[in-house]
């Protein structure tokens, strides 16, 4: 953002110096030039009378005054915007300029990690998305702003829970056990956990730069294997103080429901309901949900002068979940300031962000209760109290949701500062320091429910994830004749701490003693705590050289050392090498329609050490199951090894090759890029089976096996219609990614012994529900993509309604043979269109995935007639002919290809408003429709296995344990329904 301003200001100055004095004319024309996207005034725009050398430039408010013949034409040009010709008019002329979309923009600057580069000089696969292209309206996680916008970047928000973490995949999956989300770097600071990004207010973000290929990400070394997303927050600009307000309010509603039997349906399906019929007619899906409201407000004040700038912003948001009692409330404060001293040679920056988030979580077991409860049961008794009932995995979900509470209070503080000093014009030294503190306080209470016989429970827990990071760097940037050299060398030190403690109890004599945890049955009081620390120390360097803006070479090397890996592999090297050639000048100098064209090739090595815990490498003992000491009647802890140590653990290594082509045609009207990559990840970390004994664990975390990610990405951007009043631009991207496990065999070492593992397949995901325990259905298997399904083939039912699999019933063959089915998508794509007409803008973003399959575990459980009469079923259960117990088969593995209208926004900009230089109102919709054959609630589910959850109450809260390509986790029936959201909002910049 601020670079653009800098350029605007410099152009303005240059033009002031060189534009000829105005000649005598017969008409004085006045006008104002604004940005067509947001209506903001543009200073320094060149306004020229066509066919003459008469011209002027706009002032800081975008106004101009020029003498011109009444029949003349004005030519308006400005770097970064499309040229425009306008007939002279005597009335004040309001002229809007459209930013030009050229991908090889001469001036655009992108972050490449520990520095920036001009877009045209990039040698790696890096994509930049500015705030003007963000998805608008309601979002759960700021990365949702990017969904569908970047080829190769797949962002999945699994369900409508405002507290769910997004799954972000850049160029597929390259780890089986480690984190899969790209590294997120905010203003130069690597977030300790990519999920912390969920707590950053979305309105604070100015742009994203996505480092896609291994050579671009290699500067992040042992943590770069999943790619890198660099986030730049909004900054102040030189000029008078600017106050902005961005706000929206909206409503969300569930976008799809299962077709469960109504009470009338149940009564006709089961004529003799007897005691099961309580005379009610309850739609439990609707009973636990609501129309949810949300609001978001951000106020910022920013400004600066030639030597300094600042921005301070405050953000408040409150996002209700559609499920009762769930939601997220957030208050954020941010400050960023920069100032220069010592003849502008010293540059000091400081950023401070503090976000307090309050989450109201719900127990996902309530979704099972919702599906299981008969529609003939009421929610409440006539006197208003809850109607209580209880059966296996069944209770009143409304009561459970409303009467329990699970709150998380999260406090994220990011503090960073930097100093840079220009020793000479070419040589700069600097240092940065950053402190991150993330404190999560959990507080939960489960009351005694009448008739259920359960005991009440309460607990509080605190988790701290803190880090201290610093770096020291030297930059040398020099141009010699046609050669430009940029050199960076740096040292970095990162120290990470994690700690927690919790206390919980049960059997409180009255409710509301959850703030007096020790007052329950002291036998059941629990205390626990943990603390861990690890460090990463790095040295790295980058050399970028270009000759004549035509030939480019970039090389980087990073050396990372960490306490996480085994003692034998502390240090690792991560190099990269890129070349690029802009060949318009040499080969197509005379081709007018070709503006620019560049070919790139790169090779890089990145790593992933997420799968290795702080102490996984070491032989440690810790408290294990208690034993009984009959003499004292006590239960001391036994002490035993806590893990199978492996002193030879090291990072997974992704070796990536990428070739790419960037182009701009027809004066920027059509631009785009394409990339082909072929990456191989070796030393895959997973838990491999080992013989026990002699081992005392049956798996060891080891670096064994390899996998391949290959893909092709194409992104196009076009200005389809360009006129004085009407503009239509379109962006589209598509990516084909093929991920395959090559092998899971290899050797590992413990101590000095070398052992072999040869895993033909490792079970990962399970079908869940009653009668479905120990039922693995997805596997890691060489030759297939991760989480390949292995399922019996459903071949209809026999005369008695028994399911057959390859022609045989379960009675004939209790163990039907499985077949491998690859669930991974063939390609994913996104299309964004935006239209400007006068003051109106309309944009819509479509996003889709083709060839994906999802296992509909909810239907497997619920579309089963044998659940009647006690548990409700879908209408399909009455008609699908299946009369026997559920069996996980390919019948439930559904085509989950989809096309979603992700985002649509209609905006109107008011011009010439007395109090605001920019005033825009908009109406936005999110998830307006989805076209899919998938029969479940929504085809987007998590595509990796992630663990997590609440320290206090296990994994059911917030649906923390998800299964790849399987729609639900807890009891097979816990998918927080996706929502459709409509918002209205305002963006205002006050005068």
């Amino acid at each position: 953002m601020h670079f653009k301003t800098l350029l605007k200001v410099s152009c303005f100055i240059l033009l002031c110096l060189f534009v000829m004095p105005a000649m005598a004319q017969n008409l004085t024309v006045t006008g104002k030039i604004t940005d067509s996207k947001d209506g903001s005034p543009i200073p320094g725009v060149s306004v020229l009378v066509k066919g003459t050398s008469t011209g002027t430039v706009t002032d800081v408010n975008g106004n101009f005054k020029i003498a011109a013949p009444s029949t003349g034409t004005l030519v308006i040009t400005y770097i970064g915007y499309d040229r425009k010709e306008v007939r002279v008019s005597s009335a004040p002329m309001n002229i809007s300029l459209s930013p030009n979309a050229t991908q090889l923009n001469e001036v655009a600057v992108v972050s490449i990690g520990y520095g920036t580069a001009r877009k045209k000089d990039l040698t790696g696969a890096v994509e930049n998305i500015g705030s003007k292209n963000f998805n608008q309206g309601a979002i759960i996680n700021p990365v949702d702003q990017l969904a569908g916008k970047v080829a190769g970047l797949v962002i999945t928000q699994p369900g409508g829970d405002p507290n769910q973490n997004a799954s972000v995949r850049l160029r597929g999956q390259s780890s089986l056990k480690g984190g899969l989300n790209p590294l997120i770097v905010v203003d130069g600071m690597i977030l300790d956990d990519p999920n912390q990004f969920q707590n950053i207010p979305p309105d604070d973000i100015a742009s994203y730069d996505v480092l896609k290929d291994a050579s671009a990400a290699a500067i992040y070394g042992a943590r770069g294997a999943n790619g890198v997303i660099i986030v730049t927050t909004k900054k102040g600009q030189a000029g008078k103080a600017v106050v902005t307000y961005d706000g929206l309010v909206g409503t969300s509603s569930q976008s799809k429901y299962y077709d469960l039997l109504s009470a009338a349906d149940l009564r006709s399906a089961v004529p003799n309901l007897g005691a099961l019929d309580k005379g009610a007619n309850t739609d439990w899906q609707k009973a636990i949900t609501r129309t949810a409201y949300q609001q978001r407000h951000t106020v910022s004040i920013s400004g600066g002068n030639n030597n300094s700038n600042y921005i301070a912003s405050a953000n408040y948001s409150n996002q209700q979940g559609i499920v009762l009692n769930s939601g997220k409330e957030q208050l954020g404060l941010r400050f960023f300031g920069e100032t220069k001293a010592i003849d502008n040679r010293l540059d000091i920056k400081m950023g401070l962000e503090n976000v307090a988030t309050t989450r109201s979580l719900i127990d996902y077991a309530n979704f099972s209760y919702m599906y299981n409860s008969p529609p003939t049961y009421p929610v409440t008794n006539p006197d208003g109290s809850y109607y209580a009932y209880s059966d296996f995995n069944e209770a009143n979900p409304v009561e459970h949701i409303q009467e329990s509470y699970f709150k998380n209070y999260e406090y994220l503080t990011l503090i960073n500062g930097s100093l840079d000093f220009n020793i000479t014009n070419d040589l700069k030294i600097g240092g940065t320091a950053a402190i991150t503190r993330n404190n999560v306080q959990e507080h939960g209470y489960i009351p005694t429910f009448p008739l259920e016989g359960n005991v009440n429970q309460a607990g509080q827990a605190t988790e701290n994830t803190n880090s201290y990071k610093t770096n020291a760097h030297i930059n040398y940037d020099k141009t010699f004749g046609k050669s430009t050299l940029n050199v960076l060398a740096a040292y970095e030190y990162n120290d990470y701490f994690y700690s927690n403690y919790l206390a919980k109890g049960q059997q409180y004599i009255t409710d509301n003693l959850d703030n007096n945890l020790g007052s329950g049955n002291s036998l059941y009081n629990v205390i626990s705590s943990d603390k861990q620390e690890f460090k990463i120390i790095s040295y790295f360097a980058r050399v970028a050289y270009n000759y004549d803006n035509r030939f480019y070479v970039t090389g980087t090397i990073r050396r990372d050392g960490t306490t996480k890996t085994g003692l034998n592999d502390i240090w690792g090297n991560f190099p990269s090498f890129d070349v690029a050639y802009r060949f318009k000048k040499d080969l197509f100098a005379n081709v007018e329609w070709l503006d620019d064209i560049k070919i790139r090739a790169g090779y890089g090595v990145t790593g992933n050490i997420d799968a290795i815990g702080a102490y996984t490498s070491y032989a440690l003992v810790g408290p294990q199951n208690p034993y009984f000491d009959a003499v004292t009647g006590s239960y001391p802890f036994s002490y035993a090894p806590v893990q199978q140590e492996n002193e030879n653990l090291k990072w997974e290594e992704r070796k990536g090759r990428n070739i790419g082509l960037d182009f701009s045609l027809f004066n920027g009207r059509l631009s785009g890029n394409m990339n082909y990559f072929n990456d191989k990840t070796t030393n895959l970390l997973s838990d491999y089976a080992i013989p026990e004994p002699p081992a005392i664990f049956n798996t060891v975390l080891a670096n064994v096996g390899s996998m391949t990610n290959k893909g092709f990405e194409l992104a196009l951007s076009g200005e389809i219609v360009k006129g004085s009043k009407f503009n239509w631009t379109a962006n589209g991207q598509i990516s084909f990614i093929n991920t395959k496990i090559d092998n899971l065999s290899g050797t590992y070492q413990i101590g000095t012994n070398t052992y072999a593992v040869n895993a033909t397949q490792i079970p990962v995901g399970y079908a869940q529900g009653r009668g479905l325990s120990s039922n693995p259905i997805t596997f890691l298997k060489p030759g297939y993509s991760p989480y390949v399904f292995f399922l019996p083939h459903y071949t209809g039912v026999d005369a008695s309604g028994n399911q057959t699999f390859d022609g045989q019933t379960i009675a004939q063959n209790p163990n039907p043979a499985g077949h491998y089915i690859d669930p991974s998508p063939k390609f994913s794509y996104g299309i964004t269109n935006s239209f400007d007409y006068g003051n109106w803008t309309l944009s819509f973003a479509l996003r889709g995935v083709y060839g994906q399959k999802v296992f509909d575990n909810t239907l497997l459980d619920v579309a089963t007639v044998t659940r009647l009469p006690g548990n409700n079923v879908t209408k399909e259960a009455l008609t699908n002919g299946i009369k026997d117990a559920p069996v996980a088969s390919d019948l439930w593995l559904e085509n989950a290809s989809f096309l979603r209208l992700d985002n649509m926004a209609l905006g109107y900009s008011f011009k010439n408003v007395s109090f605001a230089s920019n005033l825009r109102v908009f109406l936005a919709g999110n998830n307006i429709f989805v076209i899919t054959k998938y029969k479940g609630l929504d085809p987007e589910v998590k595509t990796e296995n992630a663990a997590g959850g609440s320290l206090l109450f296990g994994n059911n809260l917030n649906g923390a344990t998800n299964q790849a390509y399987i729609d639900a986790n807890y009891g097979g029936q816990a998918y927080y329904p996706r929502v459709r959201v409509f918002t209205i909002g305002i963006n205002a910049t006050l005068k």
Binding site: G453, Y493, K535, I570, L620, A630, P694, A756, S774
Partner: protein, 505 residues
């Protein structure tokens, strides 16, 4: 301020810039532990805690559901679970994750002891009673090795922690038999003969002799040669020690406070607060039975017994009360228990005609066993300690060995001790037959994890298809006797390609 920060940080960097030493906070490096007597006691304890999965886990289920005593039918949508429960009953054993659960529960006990022995062996200052500690550990380990050999036949016999895993191969039953006989006879004399709180839940000499007796009782199955006299000698060591008496009330051996039993020789202690894993009440009781017993969660309505089993008891047999049949009631003893989902009264019917039935009535199929009495205020994780060896089993084993060894009079005296305690008439010499003895073992040791072994032993000794024969419901006769051992679990063959699958699988 920023300058000050940076200066401080740069100063700090020079101190620590390449320091990658780890710091451990909440756990202890192996080398720093096992220093004090308390640490050694806590470090030896895993030999016992590793047994906590055995009395009520996959090992028990594999030894009972494959026999006539326990069946887990598929009730509506419940208890299909990939066919694993039906497969056990039908003897269609798969080398699946369930069978692997039994394998790993046993190898845990072996591996932990190997680890501890290795640590003790390397201690610079060994405790004065090191020989006794080592002997106790070896005898405890022998229990897991024995169970593994009994269930899986050809097993890896690994007793040294430092064994190269890639060199581990299988040993046949005869080899493991010889190892165990030597291991036990060598180490038993070093164990304690004290039977009081100091040895509760720990291996005494009598634990060792009971294990040795089990080995000898089944010697014919393992080696082809019976060892009845040796079995009697081992059992005499237990019975004649006078340290144990038959508990007058059979159920005192299994109650929530069964640590007071004078009959139990070895138990795995459980506790509702501290040591979880005894889930008997959840596994067998009907969903609604929480209202009967004051449980804090709903049971799972799984394990039950057929009429063939239930009808083995005389009406006067005190032991029959371990089974629930007929109408069940709420805690007041008056309100008939309902199954709200099936909309039927809860009337347990031991007549099970099918292995899978979706009808509401079938939810009530099978007699339920509350030998380990449910504990109010729990939902699983009961406090009843899990019984492994008890005196009644010693009497019944000695009776069988005596009879097979030609001493019917001794056999009759031993059996009648058990029958008298149960409140049923003494047997006459004419009643004392091997089939009757096998039934008496079932009545006495119901669901205690020995039935599979007993059926196989009697089948081998007497040539009657007690184990491999047909059974109601649905089980047909096995084609051959490969089902005497379970398949080697597939995950274990994956982990160690040296392992060969058992014949017939």
């Amino acid at each position: 301020m920023i300058i000050a920060c940076t200066v401080t940080l740069i100063g700090g960097i020079s101190q620590s810039c390449t320091n990658l030493n780890k710091k451990v906070y909440a756990v202890v490096p192996v080398g720093n532990f096992y220093q004090t007597p308390d640490q050694i006691a806590a470090g030896v304890a895993p030999a016992y805690t590793a047994l906590q999965n055995l009395p009520d886990g996959n090992v028990m289920q594999m030894n009972e559901i494959t026999s006539d005593e326990m069946v887990v039918p598929t009730r509506g949508n419940d208890w299909y679970d990939g066919g694993q429960w039906q497969g056990l009953w039908l003897h269609k054993f798969k080398p699946d994750v369930f069978v692997d659960g039994g394998w790993t529960d046993l190898t845990k006990g072996i591996g932990e002891v190997n680890f501890i022995l290795n640590i003790l062996n390397g201690l610079p200052n060994k405790p004065s009673n090191i020989a006794n500690i080592v002997a106790e550990l070896k005898v405890v380990r022998a229990y897991s090795i024995y169970q593994m050999m009994d269930m899986f036949g050809n097993i890896p016999l690994v007793t040294d922690f430092n064994t190269d895993p890639s060199k581990v191969t299988q040993s046949d039953r005869a080899t493991v038999y010889a190892f165990l006989e030597n291991e036990l006879t060598t180490n038993i004399p070093l164990l304690s003969t004290t039977v009081d709180k100091t040895t509760y839940g720990r291996a005494t000499q009598y634990f060792g002799y009971m294990l040795l007796a089990k080995l000898y009782m089944n010697a014919q199955v393992y080696t082809g040669t019976p060892q009845w006299a040796k079995a009697i000698a081992a059992l005499n060591q237990v019975i004649n020690s006078g340290k144990y008496i038959l508990q007058p009330n059979y159920f005192d051996n299994f109650s929530i406070t069964n640590d007071g039993s004078s009959e139990n020789i070895f138990v795995v202690p459980f506790d509702k607060v501290h040591i979880g894993g005894m889930n008997w009440e959840m596994q067998t009781l009907h969903y609604s039975n929480n209202l009967t017993y004051g449980l804090t969660g709903q049971p799972w309505n799984g394990f039950c017994a057929t009429a063939d089993v239930y009808n083995k008891y005389d009406a006067s047999d005190a032991r029959r009360a371990q089974f629930l049949v007929g109408q069940q009631y709420e805690a007041d003893g008056k309100t008939p228990l309902q199954d709200p989902q099936a909309n039927l009264p809860v009337i347990f019917d031991p007549n099970i005609t099918s292995l899978s039935d979706a009808s509401g009535l079938f939810r009530m199929a099978g007699a339920r066993n509350i030998k380990y009495h449910p504990e109010a205020g729990t939902a699983g994780n009961q406090s009843n300690d899990g019984v492994v060896f008890r005196l009644a089993d010693a009497y019944l084993m000695r009776a069988e060995a005596s009879m097979r060894n030609g001493d019917a009079a001794s056999a009759l005296a031993d059996v009648n001790k058990i029958r008298e305690r149960a409140g049923v008439a003494d047997w006459t010499a004419g009643d004392l037959t091997l089939p009757h003895l096998l039934d008496e073992r079932s009545r006495e040791l119901m669901w205690e994890g020995w039935r599979r072994q007993d059926l196989i032993r009697f089948e081998v000794a007497d040539g009657v298809t007690y184990f491999t024969g047909a059974r109601t419901p649905a089980k047909t006769a096995d084609g051959d006797t490969h089902t005497f051992v379970f398949p080697i679990p597939a995950p274990e063959i994956l982990a160690n390609p040296n392992l060969h699958q058992n014949p017939g699988y």
